[in-house]
Amino acid sequence: MDLFFVLLLGLLLGGYLVLDGFDIGSGMLVRPLGRTEWERRAMITAFGPFLLGNEVWLVATGGVLFGAFPLLEGEVLGELRALVWPLLVVWVVRDAAVWSRSRLPGARWRGFWDTTLAVVSTVFAAGWGVVVANLMIRLGDGGAAHPVYGWFSLLWAVTMAVVFAGHGAVFLTARLPQVPAAAVAGTARRLLPAGAGLLAVATVVTVAAGVLPQRAGALVPVALAGFAAAAAPLGARVLLGRGRPGLALAATAGAVVGPLLMVATAGWVVVRDSAADPASLSVLGGVAAAVLPVIVLSQAWMWWVFRHRVDERSVVFF
């Protein structure tokens, strides 16, 4: 049963990173790439229908963390307070920006929120990089030598900011109308190799820096996951070139989720050992098993309804 919950936790957090990852990435790009109000509104409408259904994955991650791994929640969130707390504030401001920008007319109001969205989305993306770095340090039991905001965290912050931006650009390429999509695709083609390069460097550094236990059994899977993640943006670039943005999005999803796999290979045992009592897990497990198909179906339905490119008839709200 505890293994089921490790998988469920991984599924929820991975799902969150992939799904809200393109909200974050798109949010970074609305201001820099949207040349007219129409384009910016179309970009927000591209990810708008998914936003609520995406970020709920992190809410569920938090719930399962508290329900199935209460000790881990207390310790990880407690130790990483200096990181979790600002990320929460950033998340709140990101949502406030999306929710508010189109409520009132006026170029200054909207410009203010678009700039805010770009800034907090970038910080949010980088923050997830810092989370990856710190989970690696703490779960891998590698080093008290690395502070929450050390150079190792900084490397991962830059890496994930670029990876999320690439993921967002590919998403916008897939969802925007043809003409603006072509312009965004150019940005995607420049971002993706940079993301791949940074992921490769971060993987090498992670293996070599001694943050993980220096055993082949621990390092090889981490290196494999890291290099697979680094290859994914390159694959996405090829697929974009062949006019398959949907498949490219699946590839960048791999790049986003790869670092989580690195964390998981290094630290899943620690997570499993902090699981709640079996009696609690069996109740929660029954509920989760019953409700998961419903969740998956409702999300699949959402994707089916909003599978087309944004066009003149797309409903706007954000």
Binding site: E37, L71, L77, V84, I295
Partner: protein, 425 residues
């Protein structure tokens, strides 16, 4: 103030802010459901316009509610590590179930409801808002189940200082939970009814062109008000029976009765050892405000029902001014309710199991103050923003493009490079 007090203040502020939005969402969604159901089956344009008007207010407020809720969920780990350490096995369950069973579907479907307007078949679209409403109330049940465990811990046993779940059914049937759920649901109906009545009254006073629409929503709200107020009173008092048995100190503080207080303090000292086991005595103030004001609302709700005859409620105009003035009242009342419930639980985090002192994370005062200041500034800004936006949309009245407007209609064609085509939408 020490770190524990700051953490408590932070929880109180974030909880209150979150709950201000949530209680309005819970109340308002009932009106949106009612109007959309009527619109779907009777095909009356009045109901379509009402659905859009109240739907936009609902969605704007819902956004603020989610944002406040994010902070709530992660606060357990940040400020209350002891709670997870000692009672995580039990308390975590309802919270995890709430996110999976209720909120997941609710959020997914609300996004589809907003952006699927006119794109999803009408009946399915109606079904979406029904599911959103139902899951919202299911959410309330599970969150209150977690809260009821703090008030009256059941279904567990303590081994080596850690609580283990023994009976999940007992958690779901906690006597402290069932009356509280019905009380909270009734209070949400009151909040929604007074909001809808107040905004409709404001529109009618401002000589809106949409008299038919706002008169109809006003009548709906006036009928809904007693349906909320009387059960709120009933289930409010019923809770006192449970409180007297499980939290005698809370009831003593609510009643501010010196004799009872003395007796209870002696009982509690016999049970828990020497010490002050009573909550602060100012709990009686919010209790009195909540109780007396709700009695007033109960009387008023009957008067308003009578005034529906021959539309006196509108024609006399005085009731309209009164209804506008009453808009903030339910929000004050629900905060009072939570103050009684939560401050009345002190000095315990989990009654009789874990003291608030022991539940708090070992934080420095500076760290606690920094986190509190940050959240307070952001959430305070959020409350202001929400009030400004709700006020603005309430004032603008019925607009056909409030919800479900296509991109093409907002800014003209995509080929236009003119950035000045910012029509105010």
């Amino acid at each position: 103030m020490d770190a524990v007090e700051i953490s408590r203040l932070q929880f109180a502020v974030t909880g209150s802010v979150h709950y201000l939005f949530v209680t309005l969402s819970l109340g308002l969604v009932l009106f949106v459901v009612a109007f959309q159901t009527l619109w779907t089956f009777r095909k009356d344009p009045v109901h379509e316009r009402l659905t859009k008007f109240w739907g936009r207010l609902y969605v704007v407020n819902y956004g603020a509610g989610i944002i406040g809720g994010l902070v709530m969920e992660f606060q357990f780990g940040l400020n209350w590590a002891g709670l997870a350490h000692v009672t995580g096995n039990v308390l975590g369950g309802p919270i995890a179930i709430e996110t999976l069973v209720a909120f997941f579907i609710e959020a997914t479907f609300l996004g589809m409801w907003i952006f699927g307007w006119g794109r999803i078949p009408r009946l399915l679209h109606l079904g979406l808002i029904w599911v959103v409403a139902i899951t919202a109330y299911v959410s309330a049940y599970w969150i209150l189940a977690a809260n009821a465990f703090l008030q009256h811990p059941v279904g567990h046993e303590i081994r080596d200082g850690v609580a283990f779940l023994t009976d999940f059914g007992a958690l779901m049937r906690n006597p402290n939970l069932l009356d509280a759920v019905q009380h909270v649901v009734s209070a949400a109906v009151v909040t929604g009814a007074l909001f809808v009545a107040g905004v409709s009254a404001w529109q009618l006073l401002r000589r809106t062109p949409d008299v038919i629409e706002f008169r109809r929503s006003l009548r709906f709200a006036v009928v809904a008000l007693p349906i909320g107020v009387y059960p709120a009173i009933h289930f409010g008092f019923l809770q006192e029976v449970v409180i007297e048995q499980s939290q005698p100190g809370k009831l003593a503080a609510m009643y501010a009765d010196p004799e009872r207080t003395l007796r209870v303090q002696q009982e509690l000292a016999a049970r828990f050892g020497p010490g002050d086991w009573l909550p602060p005595d100012w709990v009686s103030v919010p209790y009195q405000i909540m109780m007396q004001t709700t009695f007033g609302l109960a009387l008023l709700s009957i008067v308003l029902l009578v005034l529906l005859i021959r539309n006196w409620v509108v024609r006399l105009r005085v009731p309209l001014y009164l209804l506008v003035a009453l808009i903030p009242v339910p929000f004050v009342l629900v905060i009072c309710g939570w103050l009684v419930r939560e401050v009345g639980r002190q000095p315990w985090a989990v009654y009789g199991v874990l003291s608030t002192e022991d539940a708090a994370s070992p934080l420095s005062t500076g760290a606690a103050a920094a986190s509190f200041t940050g959240f307070a500034v952001v959430l305070g800004g959020l409350v202001l923003l929400n009030i400004v936006l709700l006020g603005r949309f309430a004032r603008r009245g019925i607009e056909d493009d409030a919800l479900g407007m296509p991109l093409g209609a907002t800014l003209g064609s995509s080929t236009s490079d003119d950035d000045s085509v910012l029509v105010g939408r």
